[in-house]
Amino acid sequence: MKHDTSAFSRRRFLQGTAAGAGVLAAPAIISKGALASSGELNFTGWAGYPLFQEKIFPTFEAATGIKVNFKELPDQDTMFAEAKVALEAGGIDVIEPTIDRWGGWNSNGLLQPWDESKLAMDNYLPGLADGAAGERSRADGKLFYVPSNWGTEALVVNEAEAKLSDPPSLGDLFNPENSAVLRPHSTLAAMGRWLDAQGKLPRPWMDGYTDMAAMTELWDIALAEAIKAKGNVVQWWSGENEANAGFTANGATIGLCWDSTGFNLRNDGYKYIAPVEGAFAWHQGLVLMKNAKNIEQAHEFAKWASTPEGSALWATAFSSNPVGKGSGEFMDPAVSEYYNGTFNDEALNKLWWWPEQSAEFIAKRTEYADKYKAA
């Protein structure tokens, strides 16, 4: 799941529709479950990840005695719409949006802050619930959002052939001696962040995400620079297969790709490296509804999601990374070794979280990507 590109997919939609049909038939079962001993929790999350029903909720229930009533929804717009209804009608305690979205939910009056004393904030890996991500999890000093899993987009490099600066930087993507496999819109963001890190931009790159005038000003610069360096791009990618083939069949030596690409190529002489500017990253997490009924249970749930076992299961369900310390023993060892090879504590602290990108922003971003491709 890569939220920055497609929060919505046909498959998710279909699965969501199917799940919706299931939910319609559910009330009988749910009201029976309400008699259970340690209470219940109404959780609204992502459709299409069967491990939740198969493993996560049963494990959670075995550990705490709390029964989870799960409502699967295909995308965040629908979650938001459901939450608005639930504000009147009730029925939702916890929802799982991405970090860039909950601000809008909060300004619509949907959320209440978590009680940190009932959570275990020490459970989280550094950089995920503190630092830049921690700031973005709070409003008015109150904690509204706790992470549940995360993923990255960083440098995949051919260890033998790629020319890297020391330390490796996003700028290496634009080095004419490297052949690069890229996807247009994140490349423009990489160019912007690289220029920003060198102090070559008239204003911070982040301004572009909140102010459309700043966006065009900054993206015009990034586009012009990226077009100058376009000669070393040998292929675009938009999905996992293309990225992989760009390296293996088309001989690219460097790329800005998802962690899964680096993972799949790890035994073929490629390495996944976090650039000095910080890897691109997304994360999603749990928020508490303003009119939540089962507040104690919700805190239990969020706390459990940060434990080694809970966070490992969560990451496995989404094929992403765990947020909790010590989750390695519950993960596939090859996966843990791979991530630890890329992200030490410093790299974790430097993660650059994709900011909120409005519909207007994304439309404009698509236009810039078009111009970049057509150049």
Partner: protein, 308 residues
């Protein structure tokens, strides 16, 4: 209809009619009308759909004129909206594909229709058909593999000493796309042309030869005019299929090529703006239809000729 009734009885005929009606209505007409209606409405958050901002307008269609880029052609520098630029190139390269398909298909069609021994014709047709049975995805990927930097073509050329360093075939503008489209759609040109030439009376060719016409004149004055409806229907098919292809340009495209269908695809999948994507899709359909109508008028082909 009478035949159907007589053969299958009223019950089965009714079922068939119902199924066809369902197919047309639910799988073709309703989705298209839905998209058409969507294309005039703005892309809004779920909560604002049906709200005061949800009004009809042409804004989605006009977005094609946004985002100017500077281009030069024959030393003349001009600015053009990036999507119009993409669109023009799509039309241009689709025409190129059509012409190349014709140049490849015409001699082959003539050979099959007039020269080859009728006994070996079924074998030859079968050989031509076999690639058509393979999925378009596989054929496009096959070409991608052939043209890849570390692929067999470079290995072969290096092996026989023709080139020293491997060549990036997949990164030469629209070359990969044109190769892929020609390979995918050439048969759609071949068979209509073959059918048309086949219906030509061979005596006419012999008569022309007897009267001393050179070979090129026989083709120019006799075979080509007779084959015109076949060429026209082949061209329409190849052109429309090429301009509307998403798969081949996505797989075989280079870092500088962009097909208009890819732009539509981006609106759907990157921008999640299905409304603008629908508008662009209808734009493509409309302009291509106009273009084909114009081309048919220029070449004096009537729709009824093609239907033959």
């Amino acid at each position: 209809m009478q035949d159907l009734l007589r053969r299958y009885g009223p019950g089965l005929t009714f079922m068939m009619g119902l199924l066809v009606a369902f197919w047309l209505l639910m799988l073709v007409i309703v989705p298209n009308i839905t998209l058409f209606e969507q294309s005039f409405r703005p892309y809004l958050p779920v909560t604002e759909i049906g709200g005061p901002r949800d009004t009809y307008s042409l804004n989605n269609y006009l977005k094609v004129f946004d985002g100017k880029v500077e281009k030069s052609f024959l030393g003349h520098v001009f600015t053009i909206p990036v999507h119009v630029y993409t669109f023009s190139l799509t039309i241009f390269y689709s025409m190129l594909v059509t012409v190349i398909c014709f140049l490849m298909a015409y001699p082959l069609a003539y050979y099959l229709a007039k020269i080859v021994n009728p006994k070996s014709l079924p074998t030859l047709l079968l050989l031509l058909f076999i690639p058509l049975w393979v999925s378009e995805v596989l054929r496009a990927f096959a070409w991608w593999i052939i043209l890849a930097f570390k692929g067999p073509l470079n290995a072969l050329l290096q092996g026989i000493g023709l080139i020293e360093d491997p060549i990036r075939w997949t990164n030469m503008g629209y070359a990969g796309v044109v190769i892929g489209l020609v390979y995918t759609y050439v048969l759609f040109m071949l068979f209509p042309v073959y059918n048309a030439i086949q219906s030509l009376d061979s005596n006419q060719i012999e008569a022309a030869e007897d009267l001393g016409a050179p070979w090129w004149k026989i083709h120019w004055r006799i075979v080509l005019p007779h084959a015109k409806p076949g060429i026209a229907s082949g061209s329409v098919m190849v052109f429309m299929l090429s301009a509307g292809s998403l798969l081949v340009p996505s797989i075989l495209g280079s870092t500088t090529s962009q097909w208009f269908t890819q732009t539509i695809d981006q609106w759907f999948k990157d921008a999640l703006d299905w409304n603008t994507a629908s508008a662009y899709a209808f734009l493509l359909l409309l302009v291509c239809t106009l273009f084909v109508t114009l081309a048919m008028w220029v070449f004096r082909v009537k729709l009824s000729d093609i239907a033959k």
